[in-house]
């Protein structure tokens, strides 16, 4: 299991069957090697955990494939159109209804951030740098496999990334309204969703019919229902599953086929129920209950959850657009006509969305307040990526909210590089000590 590095990675500068490698090919091999090293390091750490639920193996397999070009990570059929998505605003129901396969491309690899710096300033958001790296070089095959990429103009980095991606992808920009309260903004967004629908229909060659859309909504609702169950189980104290494992499960939704993923989660949920009944828990009952929020965390950028749980805390829930928020709020069908379903889809992706790129903060504030109460959160760690202004701006507002609720908050500002793990560890340790009254 550990010595899984394929032979071509071991010799990045060597010749392939007699032919000399071009500089580009050498670079690609170097980055693939680095990524494989990063992934292997994570799984070495993860495997030390003897109390891991067995059902996690399914999700591990998906991410292990990152060591081998990402082959087999997505399960699209050969003639199926793959639609890459960014952010949380792209209506995946439409992709499914047209017979496409959506894959979320938000990236967490430090190794590709450096390539991204060819396109973006050094102080750019590391996530966008990493995404540009993956898009411009064949590191994980599903980036190049995309027949179309849907990119919402949510934050400034994503807004400008559209043009930068054009040499590599067929990009469709989605103009998400920033001030979503007005009627015109909502009408506009509905038009954007319909424009997206037309584009997807053109790419897949299949017109979306009412029944197909209804079934697509149903498929995603099924996954969301299983997540509701999962989250209920996570509320249990002491915890039956580590937060970092939960992050992995939710992160796998980016890539996996939705029905398969739902079935795998159902199996995991069954196992967690058994664990609770048998009294198996992964953290002591007095472990500090931590919630993470802020700039999103994507595999393999998991240094923070690892540090939190190494130090004996437990990550009980999160408010990240890449995990819990991605799968909350259902598309709610009212009359079941085509117009009703499209409106339901448009509304679901924008109205309750707690992203800080919107002008007001009320959805996020309310959501965090509710999560703190429902999960009995003792401390909140607010994670800001360097160059991420929307989350940074909301920091003081959220801090005030948490102060009023009597919940301590720690702000950490970091990027994808592993160099500051020790500094993070010191801060998180001090924070957890405060929570547990060790002071």
């Amino acid at each position: 299991m550990m010595n899984e590095m394929p032979p071509e990675h071991m010799n990045p500068s060597g010749a392939e069957g007699g032919r000399k490698l071009s500089r580009q090919e050498r670079l690609v091999n170097k980055v693939r090697l680095h990524l494989a090293m990063t992934v292997r390091e994570i799984f070495e750490e993860v495997e030390k955990d003897e109390l891991r639920p067995k059902a996690m193996a399914y999700f591990d397999d998906i991410f292990r494939k990152f060591m081998h070009n990402g082959e087999g990570v997505i399960k699209a059929a050969e003639d199926q159109k793959v639609i890459g998505t960014y952010c949380v605003f792209v209506p995946e129901e439409i992709v499914y209804a047209a017979g496409g396969y959506p894959v979320r491309l938000c990236a967490g690899a430090h190794d590709t951030s450096e390539i991204g710096e060819d396109f973006l300033p050094d102080v750019a958001c590391p996530m966008v740098k990493s995404e540009m790296g993956f898009a411009s070089m064949p590191i994980l095959d599903f980036y190049q496999r995309c027949d179309m990429v849907a990119l919402p103009a949510s934050c400034h980095w994503k807004l400008k990334m559209g043009e930068m991606l054009e040499p590599f992808d067929d990009v469709h920009m989605l103009d998400v309204p920033r001030v979503k309260e007005s009627e015109k903004a909502r009408d506009y967004w509905l038009e954007e969703v319909k424009r997206f629908q037309k584009r997807v229909e053109k790419i897949t060659g299949r017109k979306i019919r009412r029944k197909a859309l209804r079934d697509a909504i149903r498929r995603i609702q099924r996954a969301q229902r299983e997540v509701v169950r999962f989250q209920e189980l996570r509320k249990h104290n002491p915890a039956p599953i580590l937060g970092r494992d939960a992050l992995e499960v939710l992160n796998a939704y980016f890539y996996d086929e939705v029905n398969d993923w739902t079935d795998a989660l159902a199996t995991l949920n069954d196992e967690l129920e058994e664990r609770i009944a048998q009294g198996i828990h992964v953290a002591p009952p007095r472990a500090a209950r931590i919630m993470l929020t802020g700039s999103p965390m994507v595999f393999p950028n998991w240094k923070v959850p690892f540090v939190i749980e190494d130090l004996g805390g437990i990550l009980v829930c999160d408010e990240f657009c890449t995990s819990q928020r991605y799968l909350s709020d259902m598309v709610s069908v009212d009359e079941g006509t085509m117009g009703d379903m499209l409106m339901a889809i448009a509304e679901r992706y924008v109205l309750p969305c707690a992203c800080p790129t919107f002008s007001n903060t009320i959805e996020r504030r309310d959501r965090i307040a509710r999560l703190v109460d429902e999960y009995q959160v003792e401390g909140v760690i607010y994670h800001v990526l360097k160059g991420c202004h929307p989350f940074d701006i909301e920091l003081k507002i959220i801090e005030k909210l948490l102060q009023e609720k009597g919940v301590p908050m720690l702000k950490i500002e970091t990027d994808y590089s592993p160099e500051d793990v020790e500094q993070l560890r010191t801060r998180i340790e001090a924070f957890q000590e405060t929570l547990k009254g060790r002071n």
């Binding site: 130090l311 020790e422 010191t426 000590e433 405060t434 009254g437 060790r438 002071n439």
Partner: protein
């Protein structure tokens, strides 16, 4: 038989050990950390025990803190230096009848400002552990350029009427700036005072984020530097309380007190994990100058 507890603060430059019994400090010692952390800590602890006429069987608990806290095999628990520092500061404050609400620490290679609530519990903190500016390292560099002893620069600084403004935020570039000031014939005292104010300004920026509430406790090796104390008092516009004689060991004292408390209450939240040596990769990077 005297029951005692030890706290070992393993910094990147110096290691400090303090031994506490009941509510009194029995003694403390300082040495250079070097590369072999376990050996250094063991030797230092044994030396101090010997000095105090005590043995290992008197020792009922050892808590380690600081950069190298996880590399000591005989530690009974570990604690972050922030919590240990606060514990020590509040204890000193109580002994002196001072209610400590803010702790300012400047170490060899880092600096921190910690805000406490009325019960002496950490409320908020800001740390600079990425950049040498605003740490003891800066003062070492300064002393070296001016060919003075580190212990003397404080008195020299106090001789200046008006300090010279040092503009560079980075220690490396400040070095060039200071040399050029010397070449232009500026007074040593004013240059040194300027360097002290530069450190104090950086500290003030960190402090603003966290909030300054009196009384303010100042510790760490550089707290012995009277010139620095004055500069910080001016920049923060508060009076500083510096623990008598040995501000360098406050954190070690705090760790010892925590060892004592853990023994009394029998509680320990987290079993200390032994990390492999490869994790000790905390690099001091100058990539971003960020307090």
């Amino acid at each position: 038989m005297t029951t005692c507890f030890a706290g070992i603060d393993i910094g990147s430059a110096t290691t400090k050990v303090a031994i506490v019994s009941g509510d009194e400090i029995l003694g403390h010692k300082v040495t250079t950390t070097g590369v072999h952390i376990e050996q250094t800590s063991t030797a230092l602890l044994e030396e101090l025990l010997a000095d105090l006429g005590l043995g290992r069987d008197n020792l009922k608990g050892v808590t380690t803190t600081g950069y190298g806290r996880r590399l000591v095999s005989f530690a009974t628990s570990t604690i972050s230096e922030i919590t240990a520092n606060v514990k020590g500061a509040v204890w000193y404050g109580r002994k002196a009848g001072v209610s400590v609400r803010t702790v300012v620490n400047i170490g060899g290679q880092d600096s921190k400002v910690i805000a406490l609530d009325e019960n002496g519990v950490t409320k908020n903190f800001s740390m600079n552990d990425k950049c040498a500016a605003g740490t003891g390292r800066f003062l070492e560099t300064l002393a070296r350029i001016l060919e003075l002893n580190l212990t003397d620069i404080g008195d020299v600084a106090l001789q200046a009427d008006v300090p010279i403004r040092i503009n560079s935020t980075c220690t490396v570039f400040a070095e060039s700036e200071i040399i050029s000031l010397l070449a232009r014939g500026k007074k040593h005292s004013e240059i040194i005072a300027g360097a002290h104010y530069a450190i104090a300004k950086r500290l003030a920026r960190m402090a603003r984020r966290v909030g300054i509430v009196e009384e303010v406790f100042f510790d760490g090796g550089p707290a012995l530097n009277k010139g620095l104390v004055k500069a910080i008092e001016d920049e923060l516009a508060v009076e500083l309380y510096v623990p008598p004689a040995v501000p360098q060991v406050t954190t070690a004292v705090g760790a010892a007190l925590i060892a004592r408390n853990e023994h009394e209450t029998g509680e320990r939240i987290v079993e200390p994990k032994r990390l492999a040596k490869r994790d000790m990769e905390a690099l001091k990077t100058c990539a971003t100058c960020q307090p």
